[in-house]
Amino acid sequence: MTTKLRALTGYVLATITVAPLIWLLVAVLKPADELFQVALPSRITLDNLLYVLTQVPIGRYMLNSAIVSVAVTAIALVLHSMAAYALARLRFPGRQVIFSVIVSTLLVSLPVILVPLFLVVKELGLLDTYAGLILPAIFHAFGIFLLRQYYLSIPRELEEAADLDGCGYFRRWWQVVLPLSRPILASLAVLFFLANWNAFLWPLTATRDPELRMVQVGIATLQGQYGSAWNYILAATVVAAVPTLIAFVIGQRRLVEAIKTSGLK
């Protein structure tokens, strides 16, 4: 295929791919009675957006999502980096076994362990708490695995210099390894934030209290409540998608790197 033909095919297919999303954006700016017309809006209105921002606790939902997503991301990055550093660099009996056990959990997805996980979290008294939303979301082998691979490639000399300066393991990790891993931590941060902001199944299962609803559960609830008031439901989904788009635009390059490497390991 010539470059020109490839470019043209690419443009056409890309346009078709994003058309549904553009359509959604345009629909939200339409007056309610024009919602289903296949045409540009006769006038642009912010009524739908203003309605959900003022009449629906979408702010509360987004705050919950922000609290959980940021907490999970921050805690996970610190813990995964520590574990990965030990698994890549420190020598201790059982290291290989521990690493294998951690990697083997990669095949376990949430729906598979949902029911027993729910019972564990219930027994721990964490249902309907932020801790119940945050803790189970932190522990995932993917980040540990990726960070470990990264740490294997950091030259040992840097650490040895710190060692000669009398730094303990904690300071070596904190002052040498952590600053060196900024790029990969940034990649994982975007990935973790998006995954948690977009999480639906666990927040749906772990909370009953409307005050603790995360944003995806919130908009799914609206879908049930507002039935065919499509203008409000769509407005809420667009509002809920804004932070993901911001995170994507800021971290696009990092995100792409993380995904590419995840496939190569």
Binding site: A14, F36, H80, A86, I102, L107, I113, V120, W197, T237
Partner: protein
């Protein structure tokens, strides 16, 4: 894999420091355990324990009020007569055998399309990937809106072809197809990126050599690209199979888009398990179903491992 004895320290160790070396090694081990402990404990509590619990729980029956009685293999026997379960297994398998190969071929096609530079290639890649950034809940709601019977954008666009009155989500024959199509739309950019990474790792010289030898585009793909892409393909195929059977798109999208309907035509196994557990409080039965799904996944992954010769999976 790093060797267990670090040559650097082994050489630098002074000969008279036997006692210190031991305490140093012990300190390093202690630090190692301390660093790994939080993650390891978390994984044991929130992943390992639930897995073990699923096995144990599958032998009990729940009364819906928090009480459990030992039921032996009753839960597994119950499966044989559970027509809804067999229906949902059929749905999941249909979903899997259409979504996995179709999604793979489309993703690979896109990856090949945007592999080499053309003006705006970066933007095109980004746009293909964009649906994946958005949550499945938003995706589900958006598509539900686009597919609304008679009024939605898709029926409206199909009207000139005489297909405007087709009900995509109300017709059992089309609902699952719509689910597959939307899943592919959601996942193709992600798979494209991974395959793109694999394609970029293939040295250009190999293809050039084949071209010089007079190999056609198809021959170059078949004999140069495809074999070298095998590890990446393996990863993508395993990923999407696991995703199709137990992944979030098999739940989130179903929950938002169709709630398993119409007439159970989109009720995947994970959706059915969720209903058994959280609508009917049959935790024991749900756990037994989970056990069967995990068994199936192990077998399916094994088969794929054989079919793709494993790739270099560490």
């Amino acid at each position: 894999m790093a060797t267990l004895v670090d040559p650097g320290t082994a050489v630098r160790k002074p000969p008279d420091a036997g006692g210190r070396a031991l305490s140093r090694r012990r300190r390093e081990a202690l630090a190692g355990y301390a660093f790994v402990a939080p993650d390891l404990i978390g994984l044991i509590v929130f992943v390992g324990l639930p897995m073990v619990l699923a096995l144990g729980l599958s032998l009990f029956s729940a009364d819906g009020f928090g009480g459990y009685t030992f039921a032996g293999l009753d839960n597994f026997k119950q499966m044989a007569d559970d027509t809804q379960l067999w229906e949902s297994i059929k749905v999941t398998l249909t979903y899997m055998v259409t979504f996995v190969p179709l999604g793979f071929v489309i993703s690979l096609g896109l990856a090949l399309l945007v592999r080499d530079h053309f003006p705006g290639v970066g933007l095109v890649r980004t746009l293909f990937f964009l649906p994946h950034v958005i949550s499945l809940v938003v995706v589900g709601i958006a598509w539900q809106f686009l597919l609304v019977d008679k009024q939605g954008a898709v029926p409206a666009l199909l009207r000139p072809f005489g297909l405007g009155d087709v009900s995509f989500l109300g017709n059992p024959a089309l609902a699952l197809g719509s689910l597959v199509a939307i899943s592919i739309w959601f996942l193709m950019g992600y798979q494209m990126l991974i395959l793109l990474g694999g394609l970029k790792d293939i040295p250009k010289e190999y293809e050039e050599a084949a071209r010089v030898d007079g190999a056609s585009a198809w021959q170059r793909f078949r004999h140069v690209i495809w074999p070298l892409l095998r590890p990446t393909s393996f990863f993508v195929l395993v990923n999407s199979t696991v995703g199709a059977v137990t992944g979030l798109q098999a739940f989130d999208l179903v929950y938002v888009l169709t709630k398993g309907g119409p007439a159970g035509s989109t009720s995947t196994v994970v959706f059915y398990i969720y209903q058994q557990a959280f609508t009917f409080n049959n935790y024991g039965y749900a756990a037994a179903l989970t056990t069967v799904v995990v068994g199936f996944l192990v077998v399916a992954t094994g088969l794929m491992f054989g079919a793709t010769k494993g790739g270099r999976f560490e």
